[in-house]
C-alpha cells in the first residue's frame, strides 16, 4: 500500500536512504531509480535503512542486489540497516544475509562505511 523513501546526505560521499512501507513490484522501481541516482551523482557510501519496511519481496531484494552490484562497479559500498527480525528472516532464508553487509543500527552501518578509506 504505502511506500516512501527519503535520502539523507551525511556528506558528499555518504547517504542513508530511509525506506518506509511496502517494497514490492509496484514500489521497488522507485528504490532502484534512487540508488542509480545516488551512484551517478558520485555517492560512494550508501546505507539503505530497512527499519520501517513492513514488507519486502523478491523484487525489492533484486533491486538491492542490483544496487550492491552497481555500487561495487564504481568501487563504492552499499550496506543495509535492518533491525526488524521479520525482514531479516527474508534475507536469512534466501541466503542473501551472506551477500549483504547488514547492521542492526544506523550507527553500526555508518561505522562500517566510514572504516574504509579505499573507496
Amino acid at each position: 500500500m504505502d511506500f516512501s523513501l527519503n535520502s539523507r546526505h551525511l556528506d558528499n560521499d555518504t547517504v542513508v536512504v530511509d525506506l518506509q512501507g511496502e517494497v514490492d513490484a509496484f514500489t521497488a522501481p522507485k528504490l532502484k531509480q534512487e540508488i542509480i541516482n545516488q551512484i551517478e551523482r558520485g555517492v560512494k557510501r550508501i546505507a539503505i535503512n530497512l527499519a520501517d519496511v513492513k514488507y519486502l519481496d523478491s523484487t525489492g531484494l533484486g533491486v538491492l542486489i542490483g544496487g550492491l552490484k552497481r555500487a561495487r562497479e564504481k568501487s563504492g559500498q552499499l550496506v543495509l540497516i535492518c533491525p526488524n527480525v521479520r525482514i531479516m528472516r527474508i534475507f536469512d532464508i534466501t541466503g542473501l544475509a551472506k551477500i549483504f553487509e547488514m547492521f542492526p543500527s544506523e550507527e553500526e552501518a555508518l561505522a562500517r562505511l566510514r572504516s574504509t578509506d579505499d573507496v
Binding site: 500500500m1 511496502e22 514490492d24 513490484a25 509496484f26 522501481p29 532502484k32 514488507y55 519481496d57 523478491s58 523484487t59 531484494l61 533484486g62 533491486v63 542486489i65 542490483g66 521479520r86 527474508i90 532464508i93 534466501t94 542473501l96
Partner: protein
C-alpha cells in the same frame, strides 16, 4: 483471541455451520494490485488460527505468485490480463491457487522480467514460495495458463 467467536472453520458441532469455505479474488495483472491480494490473504488467514509469522509468510508467498504472473503478462504485452486467487479452507489446511489465463510453458527457461534487475529476482521469488508454504505445485493448464497451488497446514 480467547473471545474469538465461533468460526465456521473451527466449530462444526453446530447444525448451521459448514467446515469448508472458498474465497475468490480477481485483480488486474498489474503490480499496483498485488497489495489488494495481500490484504485479502491477511483477511482470510486471520480467520484461521495461524500465527502472525504464518500470516506474513502467506502474504509473501501469494505476493510472489502474483508478481510472477504480472511479469509474464508484461512480457507478453498483456497488461489487460487478470489474476485469479482462490482460497479454499478446511479445518486442516488453507489451499491458495493463483492462476492467470496466459499461455505458460513450465519448461521454458525463465527470462528477466521487464524492469527486473536480473534473473535472480525470479529465482528468489520461486525460492521464497518454496520455503514459505508447506506444499507448492506449479503447472500449466489449457484453460488457465499458469496455475500455482500453495498449501499451508493449520495447527502444526
Amino acid at each position: 483471541m480467547s473471545d474469538r467467536p465461533d468460526s465456521v472453520l473451527k466449530d462444526s458441532s453446530k447444525g448451521n455451520v459448514v467446515d469448508t469455505a472458498t474465497v475468490e479474488l480477481k485483480i488486474p495483472s498489474h503490480a499496483e494490485f498485488i497489495g489488494v491480494a495481500r490484504m485479502m490473504i491477511m483477511g482470510v488467514a486471520s480467520r484461521i488460527s495461524f500465527s502472525y509469522d504464518e500470516v506474513e509468510d502467506l502474504r509473501l508467498a501469494v505476493g510472489e505468485a502474483c508478481t510472477s504472473a504480472i511479469d509474464r503478462a508484461a512480457r507478453a504485452g498483456r497488461t489487460d490480463s487478470h489474476i485469479t486467487i482462490v482460497c479454499h479452507m478446511n479445518p486442516q489446511r488453507l489451499s491458495i491457487t493463483v492462476s492467470d489465463p496466459l499461455p505458460y510453458d513450465p519448461n521454458e527457461p525463465a527470462r528477466p522480467a521487464e524492469g527486473a534487475d536480473s534473473l535472480e529476482e525470479q529465482g528468489i521469488g520461486a525460492l521464497l514460495m518454496e520455503i514459505l508454504v508447506d506444499e507448492i505445485e506449479i503447472k500449466s493448464s489449457p484453460e488457465h495458463g499458469a496455475v500455482v497451488t500453495m498449501v499451508k497446514n493449520i495447527g502444526r
